[in-house]
């Protein structure tokens, strides 16, 4: 079991314990609900990691790995420049501000946001 998985499992266990402890000491619904949602989310991530880790074989987890251990490994490519993040963030901001000041701006910005989202997907292929 990796450290990452252990981390999320123990966090999930902590979330469950503190939710139960809080309910029995306080009988207060809002706080118990918030802690319960937190515990559920942590359990979900821990569960996901249990499934995902079956495929994991990382050189970073091997104490004795050397540079040669990762030699020739395809670690992917990195986009070093892209205008999409700036455009997408601007469009998302315009949607949010548009809801406040002008529905027309919000609708136009929403279209732009969807377009940027599509471009992200296309560029990722």
């Amino acid at each position: 079991m990796t450290v990452g998985l252990r981390l999320f499992l123990s966090s999930a266990a902590f979330g469950i314990v503190i939710s139960i402890a809080y309910w029995f000491t306080s009988r207060e619904i809002v706080g118990t609900f918030l802690l319960g949602v937190m515990a559920f989310a942590l359990c979900f991530v821990a569960g996901y990691m249990i499934v995902a880790e079956r495929e994991a074989d990382l050189v970073g987890d091997d104490r004795d790995a050397t540079n040669a251990s990762a030699a020739g490994e395809l670690v992917g490519t990195y986009t070093i420049r892209s205008p999409l993040p700036l455009g997408a963030a601007f469009a998302i901001t315009a949607v949010a501000v548009g809801i406040v000041i002008s529905p027309t701006i919000a609708i136009l910005a929403l279209v732009a946001t969807l377009a940027f989202g599509a471009l992200f997907i296309i560029q990722s292929r």
Binding site: T2, V3, G4, L7, S11, F14, G15, I18, Y22, T25, S26, E28, V30, G31, L34, L35, M38, A41, L42, V45, L58, V59, G60, D61, D62, R63, D64, A65, T66, N67, S69, A70, V75, T77, Y78, T79, I80, R81, S82, P83, L84, P85, L86, A88, A89, F90, I92, T93, A96, V97, I99, V100, I101, F120, Q123
Partner: protein, 540 residues
Amino acid sequence: MGKSSLVSATAVNPIGDVRRSDLLSWITTTDHKRIGILYLLTSLAYFGIAGILAMLIRTQLARPENTFVTSHEYAQLFTLHGTAMIFLFVAPFALGLANFLIPLQIGAADMAFPRLNATSYWLFFFGGLVVFLGAATNEGAAASGWSAYPPLSEIKVSTGLGQDLWIVGVFLVSVATILTSINFVTTVFIYRAPGMTMWRIPIFTWEMVATSLLIFMAFPSLAATLLLLFVDRHFGGHAFDPAYGGDPVLWQHLFWFFGHPEVYVMILPYFGVISEIIPVFSRKPIFGYTGLVLAAFAIAGLSMGVWAHHMFTTGFVNNPFFSFVSFLIAVPTGVKFFNWIATMWRGSITFETPMLFAIGFLLNFLIGGITGVMISSPPIDYQAHDSYFVVAHFHYVLGGGSLFAIFAALFFWWPKMFGVKLNERLGTWCFWLLFIGFNVTFLPMHFMGIFGMPRRVFTYAAGGPLPILNLIATCGSYVMCVGVLLFVYNAIVSARARDPVPNDPWGANSLEWWTTSPPPEHNFDSLPPIRSERPVYDAR
């Protein structure tokens, strides 16, 4: 938009070399180092604005019954000051530092999701602008405090556009923060170099993992709460309106479920900074590596169970539960202090500027921590609540703590980021101005609180001890301002001097010091064997 494989060898220019033709490459960059630097510069710019607002606040309070600003303007000033310091400076600065450092410290070429990383930065950038945009509206900026309690933030009281823009801006920043934390955790879990097991990653990176975990758990609550408030204001919701069955205390629960972990989002990364700096200038390995890591996660976990200690005086929460858990946090924090002092114990300590700021952090944060333990006790909190004692407390934690660690980080990693070292003599002056100015400003605030001065009130009566205490605090804030300006001057002087620095100017331990200063676009030409948490020390 071109893609570059890991073997790309284009060096990144130092910041001082930015030419106009480079501007496009900076605003379209997805390189984690440049995004980190953009985060740092943007958050420092927001800090500059927040600092100016703080000076206006202190100028207003310099004399009793002063009319430098009106009560409504004062409310806008402290709302924007708090918002900028918390949402736009202290926390995002840590995200910028982590953006720059995490891939370098774990031997990776970049973050796991570079374009998501850039999107997060721009959302933060625009979110900050939207918050400040409120000041340009007819009725001015939001004036309900950074905690935006209903009914103050409801449409009946805050009728202007400023409050809406505040909600939208903070919402965008919170989304950006969540996205960035996902990037951090994925990068650390997946992209570590060969041999860089989790128990060998530097403490700063560990602290950022703990911080990211906190962000996952806490920030969705903020985002959801802001949406509820927006629905209340514009779409007929009544979540916080008691006239229609809503409950303003619900806001306090939801907000502080985010708000108290946010305090640790603003301090855990800086525990990491201090844990990196102290061993280097003590010439010793960090004492109790495992203990420091476990303490970080203990703090993170416990901080999720203390939110209602901000609500003791409402009478609607289980005070003993929240008091007990708040006291418990002192234990792992004490472990950290013990480890830092043990690291320095019998070390060959040198007092370069980063170490001065680290020691300043320890002294200031200790005071903030102790007053925090005091107000964890409901009987004391009932007396101190909403008084200047609380203002002093959280400024000692976030100003004396985080701010000093921020300056420590700037002086320490500046050579790695920009390829030049900041002037040591100016740095020492900067430290003493800030240290003296800080304590002259905020120490008297404890006494103001004890003498009954409430926070968020724009003036006070003449007579009694408050006028002289406030005047002292205002003088201290001007001294701090000079210290900050001296830092800016130092940065300009150092950039002009262009004295190149070696890869590792401090004799440090972690992997970022293995590569060139500044690092190339692909981060490393080669990696040393990684067999401990101090690979660069091992390779020397």
